[in-house]
C-alpha cells in the first residue's frame, strides 16, 4: 500500500486529501478566520477580508456555517450560508440573502415584497500572513469573486425592465488584512469592483449604464481579550439606480456602516452582535435611515 502525502495535494486529489487530513480544531488561532460576512465570504460582517475562513490552517480542510439576521427600523434582512476552506489558501462559499420589505413598497403596489439573492464566492490568498508576520508591514492579500443572482419577485418586471438592472452580476474584490499583534489591532481594506444595487438585492447596473465601480470598504477591530473583539466597518457602494424612471433619488443608496462585537465562547462558535446603519433604502417611499441591530452565529471546524 502506498500512502498519500497530505501536504502536497494536487488539485485533482483535493477530495482524497480531505479524507486523509482530518479536520483539526487547533489549526488557526481564535478569531483569525474572521466571521461570516453577509455575502458568505469570511471577513467582517459587511465586508470580505483577506483571511481564509474556518479553523483550518495549512494542509487542512475547514468549514463554517452561518446564520445572520439584521433588523432595521423598516426592513428585515437575513443571510444564511456556508464555506469550505483548504490549506489556508482557498475558500469557496455560498450564501442566500433575503430582504423582507414588509409594507414599505406598498405605494408601488408591492406590499409584503421579499427580495432574495443567491451568492457563490471564491477567494484565493495570494500573499502574506495577517497574523504571524508581526514584524512586517506586509498584510495578507486575497483576491475574491462573488457571483450573485437576484430574485426580485413581483418587482422583477419593473427592476429588470424600465429600471434597466440586470438579474445577475459578478463582483471582484482585492482585500488586504493586517493584525498588528503587539497592539491587538486588526485593519482591513477591501476594494470591490461592483455594479450591484443594494449589494445585488436590486440587481446590477441601471438604465444609465453598466456602472461597474471600484469602491473601498474599511474595517478596524480591536482585540479586547483572546475571545472578544470590538470593531467598526464602513463600506461604500455604487449608486446606479439614483436616476431612474421612479424619479431622481427615489432609489438612491448610501454607504453601509456598523459597529460590532464578536465573541467566541468556545473555539468552533462565534457570535457577532452589531449596530448597523444601512442608509436610506428606497428613499422614494421610505425616507428614514435604516439603523438597527445585527446578530450572527457562526459554527466552524
Amino acid at each position: 500500500m502506498h500512502t498519500l502525502d497530505c501536504r502536497r495535494p494536487a488539485v485533482a486529489t483535493l477530495v482524497l486529501a480531505s479524507l486523509c487530513s482530518p479536520p483539526a480544531l487547533a489549526g488557526k488561532l481564535l478569531l483569525t478566520g474572521g466571521v461570516s460576512s453577509l455575502d458568505g465570504a469570511a471577513g467582517g460582517g459587511l465586508t470580505p477580508w483577506a483571511v481564509t475562513g474556518s479553523l483550518a490552517s495549512e494542509g487542512q480542510w475547514g468549514g463554517t456555517a452561518h446564520t445572520t439576521t439584521v433588523r432595521t427600523g423598516d426592513y428585515a434582512l437575513t443571510s444564511a450560508g456556508a464555506l469550505l476552506a483548504w490549506n489556508d489558501r482557498l475558500e469557496l462559499s455560498i450564501a442566500r440573502q433575503r430582504l423582507d420589505t414588509r409594507d414599505n413598497l406598498a405605494p408601488l403596489g408591492l406590499a409584503g415584497l421579499v427580495l432574495q439573492q443567491d451568492i457563490v464566492g471564491a477567494k484565493l490568498r495570494v500573499a502574506g500572513d495577517a497574523v504571524l508576520d508581526s514584524d512586517r508591514w506586509m498584510p495578507q492579500i486575497a483576491l475574491g469573486l462573488l457571483v450573485k443572482r437576484a430574485d426580485a419577485g413581483a418587482l422583477a418586471p419593473t427592476l429588470f425592465g424600465p429600471l434597466g438592472a440586470r438579474r445577475s452580476g459578478s463582483e471582484i474584490y482585492l482585500s488586504a488584512t493586517k493584525l498588528w499583534l503587539a497592539s491587538g489591532v486588526l485593519g482591513n481594506l477591501t476594494l470591490r469592483a461592483s455594479s450591484a444595487n443594494q449589494n445585488g438585492l436590486l440587481g446590477f447596473g441601471g438604465a444609465q449604464g453598466d456602472g461597474v465601480q471600484l469602491k473601498p470598504e474599511i474595517s478596524l477591530a480591536w482585540l479586547l481579550t483572546p475571545s472578544l473583539a470590538l470593531g467598526a466597518e464602513w463600506r461604500a457602494k455604487p449608486d446606479n439606480l439614483r436616476r431612474s424612471v421612479l424619479g431622481d433619488g427615489a432609489l438612491a443608496e448610501q454607504r453601509w456602516v456598523d459597529v460590532f462585537l464578536v465573541w467566541a465562547p468556545i473555539k468552533p462558535v462565534s457570535v457577532t452582535a452589531a449596530w448597523v446603519d444601512l442608509g436610506r433604502i428606497v428613499p422614494g417611499v421610505q425616507p428614514r435611515r435604516q439603523t438597527g441591530g445585527y446578530l450572527s452565529l457562526q459554527l466552524a471546524f
Binding site: R7, L29, E58, L132, S134, L223, L224, P226
Partner: protein, 148 residues
Amino acid sequence: MHGPGPRLHGAIALLVLCLVSASARPAPRDDSLYHAFGGREGLAALMADFVPRLAMDTQIGRYFTSTNRDHLARQLAAQLCEVAGGPCTYEGPAMAPAHAGMAITKADFNRLVELLQASMAARGVPFRAQNRMLALLAPMHRDIIERE
C-alpha cells in the same frame, strides 16, 4: 506688556539642552516587557507551567516525548527573557536547525501559541503584555514551520 522673563528663557534653554543630550545618548534598553512578565522568576514560573502543557498536548506533545523538560524550560525562559529586553542571553540552538526535519506545520505552531496564551493567562500576564510577547515570537514561524 512684559516679554518672557529670564526664568522662562532659562527653562527653555534647559529643555533644549535636555532634548539635545537625550538624542545624543543611545536609547536605554526597553525592559518593560521583561518586567511585565515578572522578571526572571516570573518567566521561570511561566515556563514551569508551559512546558508540561506542551508535553501533555494531544496535538504537539509528540514533539517533546524525548525532551528534557527542565532543560527546555530553562532555555525557553532565557529566550523569552532576551526577547523581552531582559538581562539574559539565550545560548540554546538557533531556531532553524533546532526544528529542521521535524515537519512542524503552521497548525502545530499555532497550537504552541495557544498553549503559551493559556499559560500566560494562568500566570496573570496582562493581555497587552501577552500580545507584545507574541508579536516578538511570531516571526520565528519562518524558521520553525516546514515549508513545502
